[in-house]
């Protein structure tokens, strides 16, 4: 779709897709500016996650059948691989947040390789940012609530170091905990999805351009390579989509735990 819009410019030269891949006009003439493809599919993704888990856990049975088995696999994965290593005995209480984060992000990421949709929602920074900010607020709120409004901030600084070290350590620690952590939390997911989408778009455009648009004897081989790379990168992207959802949720669990209990 975007490839076609690039091609429609009528250039004779092959031109690699750029950041304009991520610009979407309103869905139709006269629609409000906020009604774009990313926003529609962001909500759609949320609804799909709700529907899938409703079919799994809407009426859970002691002896699971069908969707409940799949849902339980997901629940147990999040609980044992993400929750327990970081939250320990607090896992059960925070599972609602972890479940929501992991499956919403994964669904948004999966949209990158689903035909017709073919767009990772998280490649628009607003979506990862919202989630990272939510986790950030939870972290700070829990820290102040559980460790005290002063203690939380002093707990972050390890005691017993030589005085001059604190001159360096205190700013770095606060900078990393309160400014860099939420920023990298969001940007890590955003950048991965952004880059992945660019790579997929690039290779599929190479294939499309050299096989269909401007087929030449020399270019044909390049086109074939483009198609093969598109397939390989799609598989790789699917792995990255899962990995990034996993990482984002894992970091969320880590941050929540850092608010619940002092690390040092």
């Amino acid at each position: 779709m975007n490839a076609q819009s690039v091609l429609a410019t009528g250039g004779e030269e092959f031109k690699a897709p750029g950041p304009e891949l991520f610009d979407f006009p309103p869905l139709f003439e006269g629609a409000p500016t906020w009604l774009t493809k990313p926003t529609v599919f962001a909500v759609f993704g949320a609804l799909v996650v709700c529907a899938v888990f409703w079919s799994a856990f809407g009426n859970p049975k002691l002896v699971p059948r069908g969707m409940q088995n799949i849902g339980e696999m997901g629940y147990i994965f999040v609980r044992d691989q993400i929750g327990r290593p970081f939250l320990g005995k607090n896992t059960e209480q925070w599972m609602p947040v972890l479940m929501s984060l992991f499956f919403l992000i994964w669904m948004w990421n999966i949209f990158a390789v689903i035909p017709v949709i073919q767009f990772p929602i998280a490649s628009h920074i607003a979506f990862p940012a919202v989630l990272a900010i939510a986790v950030y607020f939870i972290k700070v709120y829990l820290g102040i609530k559980n460790q005290g409004p002063v203690k939380y901030f002093t707990n972050l600084i390890p005691a017993g170091l030589p005085k001059p070290i604190y001159v360096l350590l205190v700013p770095i620690e606060y900078l990393s905990t309160f400014i860099l952590a939420p920023f990298t939390h969001a940007v890590r997911l955003f950048a991965n999805m952004f880059a992945g989408h660019m790579i997929l778009a690039f290779f599929s455009l190479v294939g499309f351009w050299f096989i269909f648009e401007k087929p030449t004897a020399l270019g044909f081989g390049v086109g074939i390579i483009g198609v093969i790379m598109t397939c390989l990168m799609t598989a790789f992207e699917m792995f990255i989509q899962f990995l990034q959802a996993f990482l984002f949720t894992m970091l969320a669990a880590m941050y929540i735990q850092s608010g619940l209990e002092a690390e040092h």
């Binding site: 906020w34 609804l47 888990f53 849902g71 609602p96």
Partner: protein, 185 residues
Amino acid sequence: MITAASVLAAEENNPLIPHTYELVIGIFSFLVVVIVVGKILTPRIQKTLEERTEAIEGGLKRAEEVQEQARQTLEQYKAREKDAALEASNLRKKAEEQGAQIIAEAREQAQAEANRIVEAAKAQIEAERQQALQSLRAEIGAMSVELAGRVVGESLEDSARQSRVVDRFLEELEERARTQEQITS
């Protein structure tokens, strides 16, 4: 011109600057998922998993209890069987002893009875023998006198002489019989 336009567009849409409406949509989407999946559905599956754990643990515990019960019953049965075997062996021993005693008594009685019968028979035989002997003595006496009378051809009216002769003859007979008995015995 194209490049200029795209550069302008890229500047307008810096990918690191979020659109406000996307932030709102993001919050909305996340809230929907948190409410439906987090608040409504996750507690349900947590409850179900807990119940399942309880059911399995309860089942295991019940199975253990039943096994323990079975083990106890088996032990009881074994103990009872042992008692029964002991009792049976005791009874058998007693019965054997009693049987042996009964047999011994019966044998003793039979022996006594046999002895008694033998004694009685002996006495009767002796009596009959005496009786026979006496009647024979008289008969043989008369017969032998008559025979002797006839052989000798003399009348033996004198009773005294007669009886002396007979007695002497009989004594000889008895003597003969005794020697015969001694030989046979």
